[in-house]
Symmetry: C2
Subunit: 326 residues, 2 copies
């Protein structure tokens, strides 16, 4: 396996789209192979600007991501788009991916589009999304757009992988209120009101600005801009790209980039730990499957020679010690 992992990691770092696609399939599946690959790629990461795009369903996040990718390409950047759907039990890979591939972006090797859906626990998806971002980062994509399908606590969790979070609203329908309820407005570094050509756009923009003055800011010295755009008409997207670059520059000069990177890595480590435990917990016969040593320990717990707590700690230790095949 080591040879395979080494070869694939090398091809990813060289920027091969085919190797990148394969690496994404690996990290999506999880397991020791994915972990070994992620370990190889990790040192090649940290260069991309990761932008999260979230908002209510129907707010046009997918169209917006594509419009933004086109503008970024015009500025000489390479782009990776990751569409994450925590609510779907299916892999959206085929459906969403194929739909997206049918437009002009698919012909540009400078844009790589991939969708990921829930596999088991959300923790697993967050872990996989973070690893997938690393793959795209190591492959040299300088702008990575992470787009969620819905809005809710799950999406907020997914957004924690981003350097810059864009919250998308649309005029009317009380979508802004819905987003506020989900606590998603609070994580915004940039607000975008899409479909700004629609009636009521000005009011939505004004309401968002008013709401922001009442809210605790993510960072004390950064007031999230509120921009009106039309993703479908490709209007206002250059200004949005400017705002994203502005936020990245602010992050670097203010030291917030370091603080946020620190929080992101800490959250990621904890998510991986949770994922390792969940992978064990989700199987009813998990303990029996650990082999004879575990069965013996279980027998000793049943004879009340060992407490369940002591066994649980032994289990965590063993999970921690299991050396991945690297």
């Amino acid at each position: 396996m080591t040879d395979d992992v080494d070869a694939l990691a090398r091809q990813v770092v060289e920027g091969s789209p085919r190797a990148t696609a394969r690496a994404l399939t690996w990290v999506e599946s999880g397991g020791p192979r994915a972990e070994a690959l992620a370990a190889r790629l990790y040192r090649h990461t940290g260069r991309a600007h990761v932008v999260g795009i979230t908002g209510a369903p129907g707010s046009g996040k997918s169209t917006l991501a594509r419009a933004l990718a086109r503008v970024a390409r015009g500025r000489g950047r390479t782009v990776g788009i990751l569409a994450v759907d925590p609510s779907s039990p299916f892999s959206g890979g085929a459906i969403l991916g194929d739909r997206i591939r049918m437009n002009d972006l698919a012909l540009d090797p400078g844009v790589f589009i991939r969708s990921m859906a829930t596999r088991g626990a959300l923790g697993g998806l967050c872990r996989a999304a973070a690893d997938a971002i690393d793959v795209l980062d190591a492959a040299g994509r300088s702008l990575i757009l992470v787009e969620t399908v819905g809005v809710g606590q799950d999406e907020v969790d997914v957004m924690r992988v981003a350097h810059t979070v864009v919250v998308v609203s649309v005029p009317g329908l009380g979508d802004d209120v819905q987003a506020l309820k989900a606590g998603i407005l609070e994580i915004a570094d940039l607000h975008v009101v899409n479909k700004a050509d629609r009636e009521g756009a000005d009011r939505t923009i004004a309401e968002l600005r008013a709401m922001l003055t009442l809210m605790p800011l993510v960072e004390e010295t950064w007031m999230p801009p509120v921009l009106g755009v039309s993703a479908a008409r490709e209007e206002g997207i250059e200004a949005m790209a400017d705002a994203l670059e502005g936020h990245l520059a602010y992050m670097k000069t203010s030291g917030e980039a370091d603080r946020r990177r620190r929080r992101m890595v800490a959250a990621r480590v904890l998510r991986i730990a949770q994922d390792l435990v969940a992978a064990t917990l989700l199987r009813p016969d998990a303990l029996e499957a650990q082999g004879s040593e575990a069965t013996t320990l279980l027998d000793r717990v049943l004879r009340r020679e060992v407490t369940p707590h002591a066994y649980a700690r032994a289990l965590l230790t063993r999970m921690g010690e299991r050396t991945p095949d690297v």
Copy 2:
């Protein structure tokens, strides 16, 4: 702390109600003290018959538990009642406990009543419920009734601590269908139709029996009885107590008791492991709070000398190794 824990454990095993109440407060709060106490008490457990009582809200589970406790007392048994509410963010201790204490059972030292509500994650509640059962078991209660307030997946999880699961239905209102949806009928060892003096009780009993013939059984050779009772009028409760004893006897002779105990302990170990990780995960600054060693590791991850995966494994190992103060 060791002296405190030793003294309290000794008093619990001697059957002191005051010590039992204090021990329950400890295990409900969790943490190293709770774990040390649970470790002390564990060897004194395994004698009680643990009966889970679940069903739709308003089906009279609480009244049923009290009626059953009264009958069990008449048969010379000591009883512990644990009311678990996964849906409440408050400790129901005062409210529910006080309400229950106002009836005649409160005057009988042979019946110990306690309620527990959600504290943080459900995993924590399941862990605490299992530990609380151990406290009552070690204190010599020979029948422990675990009652849930609602019905749903959370309650199904709570029920996994029981040797015998009673599902309570009431005539009409489609409650049985509601319970079926939640998958709770499938875990029943005994069906009780409460308020059997009401119109439609016979039909509900017949429907349940018909449904059972279509369902996969928990155990191949045990067909769950369906009993009509009236908890408020204390009718049919002796038959219910007989059925519970019958199930316990069946479990022992069939070997199912051993199989189930094995599954229960395995599930409990995994829950404790999950709880340990969740306790870390729920704090955003958890990694920073682990001290300078963790901060150094985090710095190394940020410098990309260590991968997040390797750090996560180190974290699990450390959680496993942290020796509780025993």
